[in-house]
């Protein structure tokens, strides 16, 4: 499990994290949502030992991220936001080096590479140089590489950014399968539908602070079930209703352009912060 206590991170004048408290249970698929610059990547960097916190503590399966860094690194796999594969090497070589970095014996490395490439359905490209792969394939290789050393916690930092909808859904089903295999997944995204579809619990992050944590269902239930978007005087206003009938009654007798739809997590975020979750 992941435990974060009063975590702060300051970069000169920027306060990237301002006292984060959070717990993620073992085996949970947890989504960390927020706009760019809200502190999502900073949190992941601290939890994976890539960056030091200014103050506060964080533990992964009981290991302190600063005091037991090497143990923490063995516990977790990381799929960063930017593709960081070695483009001069092949898929196999990239995964093999990862295995060596995690001190895996040769036989285990070979077995695991075959198993994982099969798992992410990219076995036929095992000997291909990374530069010959599509964006979606590179992402799948990154997921496979992060799973090489069988981590108990997988950090996915915007795993589907820049991918087309079809490939994105393929990555989603892969993430679900990884969780079903027993891993804890900590996912950052600004794709609301991604968090809604995948996550058991969601945290909203804004300007380095967590402003809400709950299941997607509970977060949305606070607002209601239906959202009515209305364009008035060139601006869009959204009103929330418990049921469709109530929304329809509201529209009756009014003139203008209306759009009735289901409440989503983005509505919750906008309601809480007044901002949109944009990349």
């Amino acid at each position: 499990m992941i435990r974060i206590e009063k975590l702060t991170k300051h970069y000169k004048t920027v306060r990237a994290l301002q006292g984060i408290d959070l717990q993620v249970a073992a085996g949970e698929l947890f989504a960390y949502l927020g706009p760019n610059g809200s502190g999502k990547t900073t949190t992941i960097r601290i939890l994976t030992g890539l960056s030091r916190p200014t103050s506060g503590d964080a533990y992964l399966h009981g290991f302190h991220v600063e005091h037991d860094t090497l143990k923490v690194k063995k516990e977790c796999g990381l799929v960063p936001q930017t593709i960081n594969l070695d483009h001069e090497l092949t898929v196999f070589e990239n995964m093999d080096i990862h295995g060596r970095l995690f001190h895996m014996p040769a036989r285990e490395r070979l077995r695991r590479i075959d198993e994982l490439l099969e798992y992410v359905e990219i076995q036929e490209r095992k000997s291909s140089p990374i530069k010959q792969l599509s964006g979606g394939m590179k992402r799948r290789v990154m997921v496979a590489r992060a799973l090489m050393h069988s981590p108990r916690i997988l950090f996915l930092d915007e795993p589907t950014v820049g991918l087309d909808p079809g490939i994105r859904r393929r990555i989603w089903s892969l993430i679900k399968r990884i969780q079903q295999a027993g891993a804890t997944i900590f996912l950052t995204t600004h794709y609301i539908e991604e968090a809604e579809f995948l996550a058991e619990r969601v945290a909203f992050l804004d300007e380095g602070r967590i402003i809400a944590v709950d299941t997607p269902h509970n977060l949305m239930a606070h607002l209601g079930s239906w959202a009515l978007d209305e364009i008035a005087n060139g601006e869009m206003e959204t009103t929330y209703f418990k049921d469709r009938g109530e929304a329809n009654r509201h529209i009756q007798g009014q003139e203008g352009s209306f759009s009735l739809r289901r409440v989503n997590l983005e509505d919750v975020f906008i309601f809480l912060t007044g901002k949109k979750v944009v990349p």
Binding site: T48, L50, S51, N84, D86, R100, L101, F102
Partner: protein
Amino acid sequence: MRGCFAIYYRELLILKKKFFRQVASMSVGPTLYLIAFGLGMGKDVQLDGHSYLEFLIPGLVAMNSMTQSFAIASEINIARFYWRIFEEFQAAPIRNIAYVTGEVMAGITRALLSVAVIIILALCFGIVLSYNVFFWLAVVLNSFVFASLAVCLAMLVKSHADQALLTNFFITPMAFLGGTFFPVDRMPHWAQKALQFLPLTHAAAAVRSASFGQMPGWFSYVLLAAIGALLFVLAFYCVNKAKD
């Protein structure tokens, strides 16, 4: 320290993939210097009882082992700023000392390869020198100094462009003033004093003495080992600093 072999292995794989290009590029500079300075300008020059070509080759060995071991800085920079692979190394359960060791070992390997290229070129020019244990020890220590310096600077720079700037400030002056092309003792007294502060001056002197079959002065070896050790420790701190 186990992780250092993974880092070293990765650098060897890259080197293997670019082997012929690398060897060709390692040969260009020395070949031009040997033709221009050795055969052209220094044809009738004798220095301390040796032809200029014989004088030049140990200098080129020292210079090339410096530039090739320092070139690891560019590889680190490409990995860090372009491919972002440095993050993959940092996320692995290996100590920063293992990372520095792996990169320094890769730098030394590149340097040894470039020296092998020069020895073959020297043979083509009909020059056979003594490549004894003191020769190789001087080459390894020189490469150790500049590979460690390369890791330090690669961690301190903020972009790939800064790297070229540092090469111009550190490596180019040393290549021309460190006893590669001319004997340092022919310089004015004040310049000789100043040039003693350059590690390449000591490396060139040690390599030259060894390749002429003379017993090299131990001071140069001790100094190179001390500077190398200092830069190695500094490289470790620079990697720690690069974390944030």
